[in-house]
């Protein structure tokens, strides 16, 4: 890849310039010309397969928002295999990555690398624990003595943090790994299964109830939302390489422009959920050669994701209270192997509102409404989401 060499050469030059100028200038002026050559090609690592969870990025691509912010080429890299977004970012495979905050906190402590959360896309946790309506499981305290499903791979920490708050641990609750379908709940292999509001919860409601011949209804289940528990943790956030942000003014400048483009993508998704869902679905089945769940499912996902993003405040600002709650949960959580996610507070560089604030300010000047409310739409699910 040509640009990589240029970037490497350029990074060296920029670092040299920065050292020379360090004595007399404040942090590099990201808007100034001549200091550096702006980046025009960047890549973003997703944390799962293409779906409406990532609508804002595909919309920004489709609507040309990246071009408007001066990028010639933006590559969106799906995951879904063994690709761990924060690891891909550390390895330098991509320029930015989407990942859940607790997972990255674990990586930061375990490997000693430095990454910075530059925008908190999802303001709320979308994780649920779903059980049958007659199971008697109505709160995390009721987990005691039950068999609780989780996907593992770092998706389980909210469960352990919520349990720790109730004085429960893996000696009193049986935690078991569930697969990507919801069969474990439907077949009674677990008492309560983990689900995201925007994906697996819809999958349950896309299954025909053999007793009624109709789709299962929300009233057939008890749903615990981790957002309402002490275990709530911040999820989809945009991560950047801390050292590059500090040393490479072109990268810091690209971060702001990148954020501006994706804010516009998510604003479009907020104002036109049907169109945004269709854009992701088209990108998934064509450009990505992926096989997503059908269009109705994507629209449900778009609707639910918007609820997590537009929580009243401005887009992407990292709320110190929510961050501290995530850190506290991460410190308290102990998994079934007796291991802690983290044992010490992350360093101050683990999040920064500097870039998102600049991006929001520039967009507000351009008249973009970056803090609007989302008005949920009604989505009627169909069998199999087709």
């Amino acid at each position: 890849m040509k640009h990589s060499i240029r970037r490497a050469l350029f990074g060296t030059a920029a670092a040299a310039t920065a050292i020379t100028l360090a004595a007399c200038t404040a942090p590099a002026d990201t808007g100034g010309d001549g200091d550096f050559e702006p980046l025009t090609e960047i890549s973003l690592q997703l944390q799962w397969l293409p779906q409406a969870q990532f609508a804002g990025y595909y919309v920004a691509l489709d609507q040309g928002y990246f071009e408007e912010e001066g990028f010639d080429s933006v590559e969106i890299v799906p995951s879904g295999g063994d690709i761990v977004p924060q690891d891909a970012l550390v390895a330098g495979d991509v320029d930015f990555a989407i990942a859940w905050v607790p997972k990255v906190l674990g990586t930061l402590e375990a490997s000693g690398v430095e990454l910075t959360n530059i925008a908190q896309v999802f303001q709320k946790s979308g994780t649920l624990q779903v059980s049958w309506a007659d199971s008697g499981i109505e709160s995390v305290a009721d987990f005691e003595g039950k068999r609780i499903g989780s996907w593992g791979f770092g998706n389980e920490w909210e469960i352990f943090a919520a349990m720790a708050d109730e004085g429960l641990d893996s000696t009193t609750v049986s935690i078991t790994t569930q697969d990507f379908s919801m069969n474990a709940l439907l077949d009674g292999d677990v008492d309560a299964a983990q689900a995201m509001t925007y994906n697996e919860w819809a999958q349950v409601l896309e299954v025909v109830n053999p007793e009624t011949g109709e789709l299962y209804q929300p009233e057939d289940f008890n749903v615990i939302s981790y957002e309402d528990t002490a275990g709530a943790m911040l999820q989809d956030a945009i991560w950047a390489d801390t050292a590059r942000l500090a040393d490479d003014p072109a990268y810091a400048d690209a971060a702001v422009r990148f954020l501006k483009a994706i804010i516009k993508g998510w604003v479009y998704s907020r104002d036109n959920p049907e169109d945004a869902a269709a854009i992701v679905y088209d990108a998934a089945i064509n450009a990505e050669a992926a096989f997503p769940v059908g269009p109705v499912h994507q629209l449900w996902q778009m609707n639910e994701v918007n609820k997590l993003i537009w929580a009243g405040g401005k887009f992407g600002l990292i709320d110190a209270g929510a961050w501290d709650k995530t850190v506290a949960g991460a410190l308290a959580a102990v998994n079934q192997d007796g291991l802690n996610l983290i044992t010490a507070e992350p360093s101050a560089s683990a999040y920064s509102n500097e870039y998102i604030e600049q991006a929001l300010a520039e967009l507000e000047e351009e008249g973009v409404i970056v803090d609007g409310e989302y008005s949920p739409i009604d989505v009627t699910l169909t069998e199999g989401g087709q």
Partner: protein
């Protein structure tokens, strides 16, 4: 005549599996049969008979019907078309992996047969190489590939997948070649020596023909390994468009659309059969060297 009997037996085998599936689905308990379950304790006990309800075991005709419905709703092509194109992509990559694996395996076999010291030094490593789990090895190849790509030499993801496939494919070839090249009888080697034949003519006229019955099963194993390697590697490094990725993605719809994940499952079975069958064609061309081998 014998060929038709073979085809008939093959078809009967597939039919028997189909009948057994539907028969068990009809007779077996919908929610399975569990022994030792403790009341009130979910997940306790051992399941002796698997579940037969429609989510666990869809009817065969539902699976077939699903093949002709659109893959992901909307304007997406029928599932069977998506499966076929994904399988073809994986087959192509597996074929590249197979070729690399066969070339490397043959070279290793030749070197080990020629020099005892090489055999002593290499063979243990070749055996050890196969004990490295693929899921540990694949990300390493991917990282190296990415670094080469960033270094300016284009290295698309499918090359990594082919390399991983070749890693599984070279093993049977190396072992088969070593064994086959060493298989000629002493008396034949002595005859070649009495003709004052050098290494090269002994290799071409005696050792390689004698190795054919050993190599053909090795090539078939290598083909099957290359397919498995390609599918697992695709999933592991997240390559788009292949059958491995499709398996993972449709598995997520197992609750609401249980027949869908069977499409790519059938696709990968067909893929393995095509790969092994193509090697059988190689065997046809080498028929006159296959006297010692039981024909398969």
């Amino acid at each position: 005549m014998r060929r038709w009997t073979a085809v008939a037996w093959g078809a009967a085998g597939i039919l028997a599996v189909a009948v057994a599936w539907e028969l068990y689905k009809f007779l077996g308990p919908a929610d399975g049969f569990v022994v030792g379950a403790i009341a009130g304790e979910t997940g306790s006990g051992v399941m002796l008979l698997p579940r037969t309800h429609d989510r666990a075991m869809p009817h065969l005709w539902d699976m077939v019907a699903r093949l002709f419905e659109s893959t992901s709703g909307g304007d997406t092509p029928p599932l069977i078309v998506s499966v076929a194109s994904a399988a073809l992509l994986t087959l192509g990559i597996a074929a590249v992996g197979w070729l690399i694996g066969v070339a490397v395996g043959m070279l290793l076999g030749l070197a080990m047969q020629r020099w005892r010291l090489v055999e002593w030094g290499l063979l243990p490593w070749i055996v050890v190489s196969q004990t490295v789990p693929l899921i540990a090895f694949a990300p390493v190849v991917n990282v190296i590939g990415n670094q080469i790509d960033r270094g300016g030499f284009p290295w698309p993801q499918w090359v990594s997948v082919a390399v991983i496939a070749s890693y599984l494919a070279f093993f049977p070839v190396a072992i088969g070649a070593l064994k086959g090249l060493g298989s000629p009888d002493r008396i034949h080697l002595d005859l070649m020596r009495s003709y004052a034949a050098g290494y090269r003519s002994t290799l071409l006229r005696l050792r390689l023909p004698a190795a054919v019955p050993y190599l053909l099963p090795a090539l078939r194993l290598a083909a099957a390994n290359a397919v498995v390697g390609a599918v697992v590697a695709e999933v592991s490094i997240g390559m788009r468009g292949g059958i491995g990725r499709m398996l993972i993605q449709l598995a997520g719809q197992g609750s609401s659309d249980p027949a869908a994940p069977w499409g790519p499952t059938f696709g990968s079975i067909a893929l393995g059969l095509v790969a092994a069958g193509s090697v059988a064609l190689v065997g046809l061309g080498l028929r006159r060297y296959r006297r010692g081998e039981a024909t398969a």
